[in-house]
């Protein structure tokens, strides 16, 4: 079954014009050990507690310091992490995970099933306010059969549990810490990850060093990793070009060109399901009328949008969150702009004179405003008078996000179709931003997650996507390729389509890498 998955994936990549794919693993010879890697990130690493991390730089650090039961491979399938194996009951409602032997936290205390149980109970406790709560799957009860065995009882059949357990926030922390209070993890890291925390300056840099007690004796290859914060993306690129840093986790399209030209730098690019969308509040005027949503969708020139928003490093979207990078992507006919039809629909909906709306876009990342302004212009001819309002991300989160009825969203690719659907579009979605609340859609997704059979499942997801394609709960005009860059002495790094996964413990430095203290 992974094989099929892999084929889809490569097909997807091929579909996107021939480019420097980083997908091909670079394990020609055994990696050199030792050395210090300088990774740059574009935001502050404010939160250290892995259960409540929220942004990619924080995920990156959490991943270095902590481990989950499973982790996500570049092909979006689950591989063992703390758990060395797992089985599920036939009806997919009970899953059993077996832990590796002799796991230990950085403070030396052993990591057992008890810690896993405690962690998941913390995650599921609303007071912890962990994003993982809605993303690890329909877990009803977690229990430890013995020190090495954890049992998950689900409230509903669920096929993707091993993958969802690899969720960025589902990292195992000591039961003791949970008991004494999680604040402890705001400043220190007690995990089972491949690296230990050396120093933590949220605004400037986080330094980690190899954890010799890591369960895999081979990894990590590096002695030390410095995570450097560059709030200014072009400076971040400059630093890589100048050789001050070795690796950029993600870089915007506007800088990618420089990286391609720079010598000694390998520009990294991978197709991904990451996308920018325009969320409609489907529960209130004017967007509760499907025709209005369709009308606006019809004004979008998606090819142009790919240029405007991704500088061409992306692919057009069809208003469904799935693209070829996803396993269950359904290939629907590409949507085209049709102003006349849009006008007509708008008139039908009762807006013959057109309609005004304020489209809100947070200022991070820049693509949001970029999309908003482009949409504004494209929609004009059809009679849409859109006022664009940008705001600081914090204000956006506080006032608009999940509350607003017309704003620009931005999402990482999720591990599975189910994950993205039940994160954003089902009635009980964690972030039900569109309030689309389409029972038919819910039913399809729910069925699909309980289905093991590949083809059946694919069919269900296809129908779900068709629904969105027609009803447009949100406009998804373009998907981003993930872009990054590295010095050519960096070996074994693969840009992960998920965007929130980095696997730096597989990275090593080539012989030609500069020696750093």
């Amino acid at each position: 079954m992974p094989s099929i998955h892999r084929r889809d994936f490569l097909a997807a990549s091929a579909a996107l014009s021939g480019l420097a794919m980083s997908g091909i693993p670079a394990f020609a010879q055994t990696p050199r050990r030792g050395g210090t890697l300088r990774v740059s990130v574009d935001q502050a690493v404010s939160k250290l507690n892995p259960l409540v991390t929220r942004v990619n730089p924080e995920y990156l650090v959490a991943e270095l310091l902590y481990s989950g039961l499973t982790r996500l491979k570049v092909d979006m399938s689950a591989e063992p992490d703390l758990a060395e194996s797992w089985t599920s009951s036939a009806d997919l409602t009970e899953w059993t995970f077996t832990l590796r032997k002799g796991l230990a936290f950085h403070d030396g205390s052993p990591c057992t099933a008890a810690d896993v149980v405690a962690t998941f109970e913390a995650i599921l406790d609303p007071k912890t306010a962990s994003p993982a709560r809605q993303n690890v799957g329909p877990i009803a009860k977690v229990s430890a059969k013995d020190d090495a065995t954890v049992v998950f009882n689900l409230s509903a059949p669920f096929a993707d549990l091993p993958v969802t357990l690899a969720y960025t926030n589902a990292k195992i922390v000591p039961a003791a810490v949970i008991k004494s209070g999680l604040e402890k993890l705001d400043r220190q890291a007690i995990g089972t990850g491949p690296f230990k925390l050396v120093s933590f300056e949220p605004e400037r840099q986080v330094v980690v060093a190899r954890n010799d007690a890591y369960y895999d004796k081979a990894r990590p290859y590096l002695d030390k990793i410095e995570v450097l914060v560059f709030p200014d993306v072009s400076a971040e690129a400059s630093a890589l070009i100048a050789g001050d840093t070795d690796l950029i986790s993600t870089t915007p399209p506007t800088e990618f060109g420089r990286l391609q030209k720079a010598s000694g730098v390998k520009a990294l690019r991978v197709p991904s399901g990451q996308f920018c969308n325009v969320n409609f509040g489907c529960d209130q005027k004017p967007f509760n009328d499907v025709r209005v949503r369709q009308a606006l969708a019809l004004t979008v020139d998606r090819a142009a949008m790919v240029d405007f928003v991704t500088e061409g490093f992306g692919s057009p979207g069809n208003d469904t969150p799935l693209n070829p990078a996803y396993r269950f992507y359904a290939d629907l006919p590409a949507k085209k702009a049709d102003i006349a039809k849009a006008k007509a629909l708008l008139a039908e909906a009762g807006y013959p004179k057109g309609l005004e709306a304020t489209l809100i876009a947070s200022d991070r990342p820049g693509q949001r405003a970029q999309l908003a302004v482009a949409l504004r212009e494209m929609a004009k001819p059809a009679g849409f008078d859109i006022k664009v309002e940008t705001m600081p991300h914090a204000t956006y989160l506080d006032q608009v996000w999940k509350k607003g009825s017309f704003y620009v969203g931005f999402y990482n690719m999720q591990a599975t179709a189910d994950a993205i659907f039940s994160l954003l579009y089902t009635s009980n979605a964690a972030w039900n931003e569109t309030r689309w609340n389409n029972t038919a859609f819910d039913k399809l997704v729910f069925e699909a997650r309980a289905t093991v059979d590949e083809t059946k499942r694919r069919a269900l997801y296809a129908q779900a996507q068709k629904l969105m394609y027609d009803e447009v709960p949100s406009i998804i005009p373009a998907f981003f390729d993930l872009l990054g860059g590295q010095r050519d002495w960096v070996e074994g790094y693969q840009l992960h389509p998920r965007g929130a996964v980095f696997r730096l413990d597989f990275v090593s430095l080539g012989a030609n890498a500069p020696k750093r203290g």
Binding site: P252, F308, R376, E377
Partner: protein, 274 residues
């Protein structure tokens, strides 16, 4: 008035200032009509074009003509700055004159408080206020006005105090004139001149402060062609087309220089000391 103008034209700053500011005002007035293209018209195929016969200053990330955007943006940028300064000056002038007229403890209290407020960097104050009111050109305007008020209050007060000491004011008091008459007819006319000078110079600061706010994403909103916003947007595309960031930057600098020159020219013209 006329001879002041004459005197200004005699000093290099004054003359240059008049010319530059004159040009700017011209752009402000006729800019929008003189623009060759629609400043918001996107052209997917015309993005990041360097200056050419077709696009004199090149095009931006949407393929919009930068020259047209500058011409349209002049209003947003300059007028706003002038208004903000005027408003700030008005508030400051009132506080300052009152303080000077009260004198004694009242004056002391007011001025100490003004000093206190002035110890918050005006940019920071503006930042906080804009965040408070929500970001928009108008709020930025208010913020800048408020940030300027204390400084203007100080200036006005010192000028007013100097005037207050003049014998014609004493004469008016001895004559038994009403406070209103003294402030309105005897003092104010003699206070305005220096204040106008200060104002002109501050317009330059206002332009910069405005641009800075927009640059920090707290001023004008896209797709507006306010110059500071243009710079901050252009930064992201710096490496795809340096022109995008160069032109609005120059425009801002030019306006600031213009008003600085004009202010100094006025000052020299009004008190030909050296």
């Amino acid at each position: 008035m006329i001879e002041i103008l004459k005197r200004m034209l005699r000093s290099p700053q004054g003359a240059l200032g008049l010319v530059v500011v004159g040009l700017i005002l011209l752009v402000v007035i006729v800019g929008p009509w003189s623009a060759p293209y629609d400043p918001e018209k996107m052209a997917p195929l015309m993005r990041y074009k360097p200056p050419s016969a077709q696009f004199w200053l090149g095009t931006d990330q949407y393929g919009r003509d930068i020259l047209s955007r500058l011409l349209h943006g002049a209003r947003a940028t300059v007028v706003m700055a002038v208004l903000a300064t005027a408003l700030g000056t008005l508030v400051g002038a009132i506080v300052g004159t009152v303080s000077a007229f009260l004198g004694g403890r009242g004056d002391e209290a007011i001025m100490r408080t003004v000093d206190a407020i002035m110890s918050i960097p005006s940019l920071l104050l503006a930042l906080l206020i804009v965040n408070l009111l929500g970001k928009s050109s108008v709020n930025a305007l208010l913020a800048i006005a408020l940030a300027f008020a204390p400084g203007m209050a100080r200036v006005t007060r010192s000028v007013a105090l100097a005037v207050r000491k003049q014998d014609y004011v004493n004469a008016a008091i001895a004559r038994g004139e009403s406070a209103g008459f003294i402030v309105g007819r005897e003092m104010l006319p003699n206070v305005v001149a220096p204040i106008i000078v200060e104002m002109t110079i501050r317009v330059a600061f206002a332009v910069m402060l405005f641009a800075t706010l927009s640059f920090l994403g707290l001023g004008a909103q896209p797709p507006a062609s306010e110059w500071g916003l243009m710079v901050s947007e252009a930064r992201r595309f710096m490496h795809l087309s340096p022109w995008m960031i160069l032109w609005p930057s120059l425009a801002i600098a030019l306006v600031a220089i213009g008003f600085n020159l004009l202010g100094d020219g006025l000052r020299d013209a009004l008190n030909p000391r050296t």
